[in-house]
Amino acid sequence: MDSSSEPMAIRVRDLVVGFGDQVVLDHLSLDVRRGEIMGLVGASGGGKSVLLRTIIGLLPKRAGSIEVLGIGLDRTSPHNAPTIGRRWGVLFQQGALFSSLTARQNVQFPMRENLHLSDKLLDELATAKLEMVGLTDEDGDKFPAELSGGMTKRVGLARALALDPEIVFLDEPTSGLDPIAAGAFDTLIKTLQRTLGLTVFMVTHDLQSLHMVCDRTAALADGKIVAVGPIGALLASDHPWVKSYFQGERGRALTHPLN
């Protein structure tokens, strides 16, 4: 496909990232279109989090180029970092909530810093976001240390969505959630994508999520993207790693539920 005709949310070209002697990402290229939900699968320790953190500029790259929303991140000086920060939201694998703020204050933090709204509206919006991700108003007054793992994820998501961003990066959002909550989470992401035209880049091992919400899925193996496409195409892929990922016991249970 011709990439110039279609607006890309994320363009990664020939990306190399490593730590010391270890090369984690080796000339990796990936495109995420605007308004799509892209799932990323890969082995544990395969570099999924590293890819995500490099795209959002937290890790230095050795080579290659990254563009997010048409802005080359090489040229982003600290000066325009806040502007791009308003346009994306990030959910970290460990939640990364501010431990000295309550859940509600965590969600309000980006709004308070960027918008000039009344306290009443800020409170309503924070509660709205918390309830949309499946928490209650009372949960909002708890501190991160008092939240369960799944609740931490949800508060993290509510905070990532606080500024109605154009792109959200989610690192294993449904791990640690019960299946019902994970399903509700998927529905929410889908709703937001449909109405807001949200672009979602999510690392996930949840095969159900890949089926239900992801428009396309990319498979990361040996530091490269070895297959990209709708989930059906990945299931048919004959790359050995992709095959064993989806055709293993657990993968098969979903693709052939009756066998």
Binding site: F98, S99, S100, L115, H116, L117, S118, L121, D123, E124, L125, T127, A128, K129, E131, M132, D137, F143, P144, A145, E146, L161, L163, D164, L188, T191, L192, R194, T195, L196
Partner: protein
Amino acid sequence: MNLEPALNSTISAERLEFAAVGSWTIAHSEALERLVDAGALQVANTRSMAIDMAGVQELDTLGAWLLERLIRRGRERGQDADFTRLPEHYRSLLDEVRAVNRQPRILRARRNRFISALDNLGRTTVGFKRDILAFVEMFGDLSVTLARILVHPLRFRFISAVHHLNRVGWQAMPIVLLITFLIGCIIAQQGFFHFRKFGADAYVVDMVGILVLRELGVLIVAIMVAGRSGSAYTAELGSMKMREEIDALRTMGFDPVEVLIVPRVLALVVALPILTFFGSLAALYGGGLVAWLYGGMSPEIYIARLREAISVTHFQVGMIKAPFMALVIGVVACSEGLRVKGSAESLGLRTTTSVVKSIFLVIVLDGVFAIFFASIGM
């Protein structure tokens, strides 16, 4: 596609019609809040109201919530209120926000200032008791564990203790030597400056010797160790507590006191006398240097005077105090570390408390020792 939003209203025969147009997104958040607040004031005595959505170019959760709030305002007034000409793709977002903020928030009432001052006082008092208990408890835990280690010496973590000894002893040496050297210089300089008026130059050596060996050497070193190593202990143990590492140890059947605290406290107890010894030497050396360069007293005379002025007793008084001070610093640092709760703020608070409290206790202990030595005639 970034159009200034607007909310136009028309009233016709008992019906209030709003027409929302433009971008109802967070980019226009302030304007939107104003529009909806103004719109809410118009919701008055009509029978029904509606919001025409056909002109809305963009909608996000902020815009959707504000519109939903306007609708709710109408419904509160007992009106028929709904959206009209709603584009299909906005429907699911509006359904999402319809479900939120259903429970009125209970706002905690502001408390009377006098009452809250009393409340604070009460909490501080109770907290003081808890502080003492935590200290005593840690002290007891440590004694029991030490007794157990004496019975089963193999349980002692020798490598860990040596590692900490290196950190709090050897690595602290340069800064301790530098500071005590400077203190020695300053005391001697002040002594010469003031004693010279009475022609009592010779007694400066007595002052430097006795002050450094009995009091200042150990006190300065203890205060530095409390600030340098005590704070590190508290921060380390505190962040291990925050990340549940200590719970993990416990579930594996290890005793955190035995694994983490005994080696640390013992390392301090060994390191502090050594640091005191070398620190005192550095201070005496600094004093001698100033005596020579500033006071015009030759090194031979300085050493001879020093030999007359001080005795082993002065040296013993200082050195006996050192391990006790180390124990106090170690116990305070570790017990504060284990009291860290989940937040980064509590880690900071506990580290500060640890340093302040151990310096305070070191000085109190010094006073107690002064009374003790005076009464046994040392």
